[in-house]
Symmetry: C5
Subunit: 369 residues, 5 copies
């Protein structure tokens, strides 16, 4: 079984370094504009119903040119610029400034502790969610993804390298489904849909861990299983913190009457919203199950204790009286008439056997044996 | 008593095979159109106030012809096409396409993890619920049923073969009640009503299991009863997950102002809504009862432990001191004046009896005996 | 103390016999119209400000005539027809049909598992509540009462014979209070008010049982008290299930703008609503109290266990070491120099006394004695 | 520490004597009008900005005259008639009838189980709250206070003699603050404000009891402390039942657009509402604290049990094996070669010491010592 | 690890000294106007886009002059008067009277038990929050901060000396960020933002304490760790009491349509609101974690108990029977044939070894060893 470690250390923001910064601003490093960036992978996909182009951007200038062409919307094609890793904050800053994004959003993109939410800024929409997925090494990754959706473009900022979007990239390239026929809002929907699908995969895996744990605990009620159970419960709660505002965000999209999300895409967002409700249902069910496993384990502990004590009591209650009897005839008094007779020794054995059998019958009746 | 197994494995969707599919599409198998289908039972019922026709459809073409005639609404009669089992997805696809059903609904029908809901698509209504019932072998079946309600037709998609609708079929044939006089919306109501009735039957059966369990636990507090109790509690929670959105769906129908559900049918849906509230009430009550059985069982365990320890303590406390005394006079010191006297042995017995009686009185007063 | 048995068996409806019936219909027995009815008591009260007439109806025809005269409203007087027991469903059917009551309501009257509710059907109002009261034999009776309120009449259907309405009957006859001066809606209010008063009486009685139980548990923490406590808790929850929708129903009356409930009667319903809120407050308080008694009983159990174990530990810890010592000098080695000396025996006693006193001081300091 | 007794007996209304009374009526005793009343203290305060008059009314006629002058509002002054104790219901009836108060309110004043609420009756406002305060003997008093607020008068009915209003009386007499400059609504506000202040005092006192209890429980985990803790918890819940509707009532005042409560007084009521929210906050906090003390006490019990059992186990485990050894050499077999040798006795001692030391090391490593 | 003490003593207001005071008034000390004040630090900052002036006010007259110039708004600059410590209530009174602040607000500023809230008084806004921060000595400080926001000024009243505002003061002086370009509302936002940031710091520190505690408890389940855990839980609840109304207040600001908070500042308040939601999320998560640590610690206790009892039972069950056997052959009967034979002694040893080995195998199979 895979072991999840409690993720408590990630609960809070390390805003220490930020405190003292004016709101809506980034650390100084954001100003050291390099012409190249090493730890960031930028993929630019440009498509319409007929054409598809995918390239990896390597230089600042490439991005600037791309953003320029987006702003002039010289063509009808959709631009998806995907930025993996937030290490180069100057890049974030540059993109945001080019697209007239409010500094507060710039700050939200950079700080990876956002609660999923959507904000409508007339000429673009800002949307942030948590992406969770399981790696090949069975580790659960939590990662923040921010989207900036414009009329003909979608910019996605991922917290780390690695994501769950390859499916969409392939579908775009192969022109499968309706994604190439639709606008940028549908692209964003598709990405969010894949993110939601991965919630199911993660929950599925946690559920399997719960089932395994339940069996192990019912066999052997050891403390490290209990601790694992508590870790799983916390992991579930942790995911709930992402999933609940995810759902709320999708409800907000329904109400938002933005031109950027078209009427015919809304029905897909409605479907996605149903998925998030299912996610929350499953989470609540799993929470109840983990509680119930814990309760059972406590009862099992008590039960085992009863069993242990019953054994001790049965053995003690049988032997303590007869041990007393043999003690009596081990006394060295000069005048103990019983000691002298022939039948005394077998008589004592008889007495002791009677006591033992009586006890055994008594315990049998009490169902202790 | 019947044993329900925890249904956790069914908690989550096996969307693995789907991930990578564009939203609103079905697996490739859906395109392998066969002209016959083996594992699906399709029943077509066609009725109006005066006529009734029931046939089992066996070929694709039969269904196509039927759907064609529905679309032309050449007659005033009601068509109910009931599809049992979702194994042949190409069939689902074909029907949906014929009736201009949105691909997302097609996907919802195929994935049997939907939360009960209703969706109004102008020319038809899509509605999905969970049907639960008990088989003759005392097994609880959970099954998804989707309805597509049009002006003069109702299509029902069942997850598996076997259902609870025979009553309605017979009533239709025998022209009992008002079902033949009403429209397709009333037919759908009748089916939902039977589904709700079966919730009561299932809860009734779980309730009986609870009562049996309570008695068994009060006699013999063994772990496997506790585990069964937890299973029942999870089963109750599981049903709650179906019943709550069932109720919400019925509230939504009230507010929906669709032409497809007539004013005079709404009063029946209102009545059905009352039933689902009763179902939820019963579920909450049963949950409280299962908690209370668990609490009682824990107290019983503690109580038994007290009893065990009391016996051990009474026996030990009485015999340990007198065993010490006999030990004293088992010592081999040369100069132990007591050993020589005649009255010493009876005196020791006297002392020991005094101690035992004193102890017994003490425990009697403490109500430990 | 009176013992309430858990009422779980009554939790669910025995709809088994009904399944297969078209909605809004009654079992076949409802059609076997007898001209006389044995197990039903029908009381007809006819009054206005000046006159009062009370008779027991024995024949179908009497009822029909009465209902006829109500419909023609030939006079200004108020008619209250009270039907005790639902055994003769054909009677219910006949009355409902005479007064043009919808079949669904007919069904609701017949099934005694309704959640309290109110329904406005233009020419009459249907209202159903649960009546609870304590009999002379200290049994709690739960019974469903349905009302049909028309312009000049009130029909009440009781589940069983026996009720709490005698007070109102006497008040009507004696012309006490304003009931004779008011319309049928005030009569219905008066009956509901008496029903609510009896909730207080029942809760009062349960509360006394709780107080008695608490005392008994604090003296003697036996399992059957715990079970009784859990029964009481379930009884409280059971009553809550009736009281909550009772309150909601009264809130609904406030909002309902029916001509059948006059403006000047509404102020009385508002007052009644305050009473139901008090009932719910009391129920919630009693629930907390029962939980708190349970918690205390568990602590008491643990405490007793501590006490038991402390005694065992004290006795064992004192005697085990000195029993070892006397064992040592019971050994039969040939060369044990201590055995030969005169002072050895008293010295051993001295040693043992020292150990015992040391132990006692130690336990005294630990407050275990 | 002061001990609060659980107040469960007061949970319910003793409406027994009332059942059978028409709604809105008082017991017959209310009609035995005496010309004097012994157990009721009636204080009449009459003031405006310049004058202040305070008198104790002793006769029915005095009150009637006073009420007459109020109704004619011959002067601009404010009348505050304060009735302490509800023993003389005929007095309540007389006052209510003089001021055209609805009989239902008359009933509410007489029954001291009202939930705090406000009712607007056009020409006067009826308001009822619970006053709680601590007497000099450290007893907590719960008492119902009803107010009838008219244009130029305020009538207050207290359940018992004794109140917390002396401060206001003195302030009125001394013309401190703005109370003399304002109308009757401000007077009512002032009284409610003093009542709310006393909630803080009572909670403060309960909080101190909680702190004391926590310390005592951490020293000595005896059952009577646990019971006291549960009593305190119930007391807190009891006060919550008064405080919550108190707040709701103040919110209702904000929305009520009555002429009797002036715009410039509303700001004071808003402030009072903030106080009641603080009261509820404190109550919820104290509830959590009492739960946390209980949890700690349970852990402490378990911990103590562990300690007891550890001692027993250590002592037993060390002595039982060596007692067995000395038992072996206490056997009387003829041929036990060990017994004959010189070094056997010290060797046995050596063996036993080795065992004891081994055990001690083992327990030391396990941190049981 | 740092130890937080429970803060229960601060739960309630010491209004004792106030009771009897007319609402909206301050203690008499507020009238002893001194010309100088010792324990209060007053900092006056005066800035616009180009100029910045900071001075410490020492005399009443200085403040009066300053307030005079604010009222005449002779210049376009922003005035921030920051009062640290509320010891000199006459100062509060003077400032409030100068700025026409309602006496009730004056009272709210003086009583440091306010629930965070905002009140719009047309010409100024009153806002109160709780500031929490950690000192260098690792102590958590709770402190009330009141703001009065006018068109061109902000007055801040702090409960004690010492705050978290130095960052803002420096930013103002250095003209970093947009604070100098904006109005007084933005200054207030900046201060609230720093306060919210410090909530994160405090929670972060508590979280670290939780992690440390969890480790310590898993090693050594001692009572003082449990008590510390409960203290932390109470601290968390305590902060929750501040954070929840903080969030509600920010929602209220959004709805408040005051001229004093400009449209372009609102977007920052919206961002701040998101932060408070994150704070509440973290608090709820930490609460769950502390519960889960507690549950684990209880299971660990039970587990340890099981282990202790298992050892006792194993040792007792093995030695008690064989001790009985040696007791048998310690009896002094004259006629015990076994005693005489040569092989008897080794045979008894054999028997005893068989029993011991049998027991060990039994316990091994039961996994008790």
């Amino acid at each position: 079984m895979q072991r999840y470690m409690p993720r408590r250390k990630k609960l809070f923001i390390n805003k220490h370094s930020d405190i003292g910064m004016p709101p809506g601003s980034l650390p100084d490093s954001a100003n050291n504009v390099n012409q190249e960036f090493l730890n960031v992978v930028i993929t630019n996909i440009n498509y319409d119903q007929n054409t598809f182009k995918k390239e990896t951007l390597l230089h600042y200038q490439q991005i600037e040119t791309e953003l320029e062409s987006i702003k002039q919307s010289s063509d009808q094609s959709i631009h998806w610029i995907d930025i993996e890793s937030l290490e180069d904050l100057s890049l974030v800053k540059m993109i945001c400034e080019k697209l007239d994004v409010h500094p507060l959003i710039m700050e939200d993109i950079a700080h990876t502790h956002q609660r999923p939410k959507i904000e409508d800024w007339d000429n673009h929409i800002y949307l942030v969610v948590k992406m969770i997925y399981i790696t090949n090494t069975k580790e659960i990754i939590h990662e923040q993804v921010s989207f900036i959706l414009g009329k003909n473009y979608l910019i996605s900022f991922q917290e780390q390298k690695g994501d769950v979007f390859n499916i969409i990239r392939k579908r775009l390239e192969a022109n499968k489904g309706r994604v190439r026929r639709m606008q940028a809002d549908y692209l964003m929907y598709s990405l969010l849909d894949v993110i939601a699908d991965n919630y199911f995969l993660v929950l599925d895996s946690i559920n399997e861990s719960l089932i395994t744990l339940e069996e192990q605990i019912s066999i052997n009620n050891e403390m490290h299983y209990i601790k694992e159970l508590q870790s799983l419960k916390q992991e579930i709660l942790f995911i709930r913190r992402f999933a609940l505002p995810f759902k709320e965000m999708l409800i907000a999209i329904m109400k938002e009457e933005s031109d950027l999300i078209r009427e015919d895409t809304l029905v897909f967002f409605k479907d996605l919203q149903d998925h998030t409700i299912q996610i929350l249902d499953s989470i609540d069910m799993m929470r109840e199950i983990s509680l119930s496993i814990f309760d059972t384990s406590r009862s099992a502990m008590n039960n085992k204790m009863n069993e242990i004590m019953r054994l001790l009591t049965v053995v003690s209650t049988i032997f303590i009286p007869i041990t007393f009897i043999v003690g009596v005839y081990g006394m060295n008094f000069k005048y103990m008439p019983e000691l002298e007779t022939h039948w005394a020794y077998p008589a004592v054995w008889g007495l002791m056997l009677t006591i033992v059998i009586g006890m055994l019958v008594y315990f049998k009746r009490k169902k202790w044996l």
